[in-house]
């Protein structure tokens, strides 16, 4: 066993971390996140130029990484800076394209950062369940159209192309009969209602009305599941990084804030709370490592580890966010303190790709099936 990153990965992490520290301070992040676009093409291009996107993909797909731990090092750094650019969507859409095969040009553009592809799977009623697809695909052969509604797609307004899941056959809840399609941002019948997100950046609702689409996979459930697994590994490491920031900020506050004539870290009530938070963060880090390790393995082991990680991150993340605010007292409630924005991001990670309860239930079901 070895818990160190390889030299290459560590070098990428260091380069990325340095860049973000210098070029993506919290004020910049706030400005970008609150801008009309909700992201910065300039930052995106610079980060893609550093190889940050390429690290998310295997050599066979045109990248130079693509394993769970490659995704881990990238999203850990992105998390420390609360980066809002569309890395998660690019990871998921690119991974799905790579798995489906036959779209090397588009994948190459996505890895180069020149074409943005979003991944639109969840629906208003699906509530994290990957098989709850109501969006319908009609047609056959060379002509498909999609009709339906995709929910809270991160940075969907920024996308040039969108990967959309839609039902070819069967009923919502069936794993069989789900297809994956590529639609153009400018396609007829496609409407996006964009909005700001509470934790910065933007998302949007995607409405499709007889929108022309290209079939990518006609049996897409396994591919979607694996894509979501990679997304969860990314979110898990992002969450751990956010928790580390919250922990450092809270420890600093406990050391320096004085009440009753002493640093508040002298008080047992706060010491005990802080110890529990620190312990939960280490357990969450282990869960994230387990998921990253399992990403490239067999399906049941992978999905169990991924659901265990998302459950753990959801539980520990809520605790870490709430406790960081509580231990900071009133100042923790303010917009001005960066801490509050990390707490919001951490909490909202719990609402992406399945919450604590969803993944606990899924973990149980997977165990029963095994």
């Amino acid at each position: 066993m070895d818990f160190h990153h390889s030299a290459d990965r560590q070098m990428l992490a260091d380069t990325l971390g340095r860049y973000l520290q210098q070029r993506y301070p919290i004020e910049t992040r706030h400005r970008i996140g609150a801008s009309d676009a909700g992201w910065s093409r300039e930052q995106w291009t610079a980060l893609a130029g550093l190889g940050v996107v390429g690290a998310l993909f295997a050599e066979a797909s045109g990248g130079f990484g693509g394993t769970g731990f490659d995704i881990a090092v990238v999203f850990e750094q992105l998390g420390r800076a609360l980066v809002v650019e569309p890395f998660l969507g690019t990871l998921m859409a690119g991974r799905a394209l790579a798995r489906a095969g036959g779209h090397e040009t588009l994948l190459g553009e996505a890895i180069a950062g020149t074409t943005l592809v979003a991944f639109a799977h969840e629906e208003p009623q699906s509530r994290y369940d990957l098989a709850e697809v109501e969006t319908r695909a009609a047609g056959s052969g060379d002509g498909w159209t999609l009709t339906g509604h995709k929910a809270v797609v991160p940075q969907v307004e920024a996308a040039d192309r969108i990967l959309v899941s839609a039902r070819i056959a069967g009923a919502p809840g069936d794993e069989a009969g789900i297809g994956l399609f590529l639609v153009d941002r400018a396609a007829p019948g496609l409407a996006i209602r964009g909005y700001p997100l509470i934790d910065g950046g933007r998302g949007g609702e995607l409405a499709l009305e007889a929108t022309p689409a290209t079939l990518i996979s006609d049996d897409a459930y396994p591919l979607i599941e694996e894509t979501v697994a990679a997304g969860i590994v990314a979110l898990a490491l992002e969450a751990v990084a956010v928790m580390d920031v919250l922990k450092a900020a809270t420890l600093d506050y406990l050391r320096t804030r004085k009440q009753f004539g002493v640093p508040i870290g002298k008080f047992q009530a706060l010491q005990h709370r802080m110890a529990t938070v620190a312990l939960e963060i280490e357990q969450a880090r282990s869960a994230a490592i387990n998921a990253a390790d399992a990403l490239d393995g067999d399906r049941t082991k992978r999905e169990r580890a991924v659901s265990a990680a998302k459950y753990t991150i959801g539980r520990a993340g809520t605790l870490a966010a709430e406790e960081a605010i509580q231990m900071h007292g009133g100042i923790g409630m303010t917009w001005e303190l960066p801490l509050s924005h990390f707490a919001k991001r951490l909490t909202m990670i719990g609402h992406q790709l399945g919450d604590e309860d969803h993944h606990l239930g899924r973990y149980i079901a997977l165990g029963r099936a095994a």
């Binding site: 050391r255 005990h272 110890a275 620190a278 312990l279 357990q283 490592i289 387990n290 390790d293």
Partner: protein
């Protein structure tokens, strides 16, 4: 980043498993698996088997008679022995005193005492806690006054685990009341047969005689039984508490206990279906199972980073807290799983050779008592509250 053990380590795991298949008596494994009482003879039998293979002192270096294993090997051994239902190793001599003697003992002390720990000549117990010194251990009062070639010891120790079997006790005693309370403590080795020592049982809530009070009245201890220097005992005591933490999370025992819980939950019925399929109970099991899966990796991370099995204090504290919380939750769920059959308690049913008809399921007899007994886990070895202070103080550096 690689969570796998090396092929050599996996080969070692196979070697341990083969050894356990061949040498762990089925009688002992059955007793452990079914929660029967282990006698002194049972524990000594397993000790002798391990020692014959050179695996008893499995954290000791080779030059003191240990196998000189890596941290990973010792970890694998801990896991495999627990999964095979081997009796626990009583830690006081081998894991606590041994390392202290190796680091701070005189050559004569090492030469005399270490081989006797290995071959089981001396059963050691620990004289740390006192009625007025629990979490605040340094306020201990048992005194040792120099008188010629002897110390004369007066006072009382308590919570002395298996002191009723012990030949020897290592004690923290007060040799000075000057300065800070930590600075007047010495580390003494005392023969339990010395006149003036009285051992009185403390019966725990499960009805078992596991711990004792030990009273010292004018007990004369030869000065050569002082370890290290006078008034430096606190340093040795702290070293003892940090040295052997590789198994403090008890991952192997929790894995075995979780397997047992899952088997029970698959057998027990609720609404005509296995209890394991009840959504509320399944969620309780899944939560602790995930916590344990995470802990396995946390434990390995700490071990991989630690040199000589001594992780930083706050990491050891985290392993202790969460490891014991996990174990306690599993014993709690096992108790809940029995439903009303947690209530009957036929104490004799825990003895070897009991032939009576079991009340309820045959696995029910020890479960509630085991749950109550394991409440100790979050209290002993530094309560989990003390551990939390250790963590935050280390992180804050206040």
């Amino acid at each position: 980043m690689d969570l796998r053990f090396t092929p050599e380590e996996e080969a070692f795991r196979t070697e341990v498993r083969t050894f356990l298949q061949d040498k762990l008596p089925a009688r002992l494994a059955d007793k452990v698996r079914t929660g029967k009482r282990l006698t002194k003879q049972d524990l000594e039998e397993w000790h002798a088997i391990l020692n014959a293979r050179g695996w008893f002192a499995h954290h000791w270096p080779k030059d003191h008679g240990g196998p000189g294993w890596s941290v990973a090997q010792a970890h694998i051994f801990d896991i495999e022995t627990a999964l095979a239902h081997a009796p626990r190793i009583i830690p006081f001599g081998v894991s606590m005193l041994g390392p202290v003697l190796m680091k701070y003992g005189s050559d004569a002390q090492k030469k005399h005492w270490l081989p006797r720990i290995l071959d089981g000549t001396d059963w050691w117990c620990q004289g740390y806690s006192e009625p007025g010194a629990g979490s605040d251990l340094a306020s201990l009062k048992t005194s040792a006054v120099r008188d010629g070639d002897h110390y004369v010891v007066n006072g009382q120790k308590t919570w002395t685990t298996l002191g009723q079997y012990a030949d020897m006790i290592f004690c923290l005693v007060r040799t000075s009341t000057e300065g800070k309370k930590q600075e007047g403590i010495s580390f003494l080795l005392i023969d339990m047969k010395t006149p003036g020592i009285e051992v009185r049982p403390i019966i725990l809530l499960d009805g078992e005689h596991e711990v004792n009070e030990v009273f010292f009245t004018d007990v004369r201890v030869p000065v050569e039984n002082l370890v290290g220097e006078e008034n430096k005992g606190w340093t040795y005591a702290k070293y003892l508490l940090t040295y052997e933490r590789s198994n403090i999370a008890g991952v192997g025992s929790s894995m075995a206990a979780l397997d047992h819980l899952k088997r029970i939950a698959a057998t027990q019925r609720k609404g005509g279906r296995p209890l394991a399929e009840n959504p509320l109970f399944a969620a309780r099991i899944a939560r602790v199972e995930i916590d344990l899966e995470n802990m396995k990796t946390t434990n390995l991370r700490v071990l991989a980073a630690a040199t000589h099995g001594a992780p930083p204090l706050e990491q050891g504290a985290m392993l202790k807290i969460r490891g014991t919380e996990i174990r306690q939750e599993i014993t709690s769920l096992t108790r809940r799983a029995l439903g009303p059959y947690a209530q009957p308690f036929v104490s004799e049913a825990l003895d070897e050779g009991y032939n009576g008809e079991p009340v309820g399921p045959d696995y029910a007899a020890p479960v509630a008592a085991d749950y109550f007994n394991n409440r100790k886990l979050s209290i002993f070895g530094g309560s989990n509250e003390v551990q939390r202070e250790i963590i935050t103080k280390a992180l804050l550096e206040l």
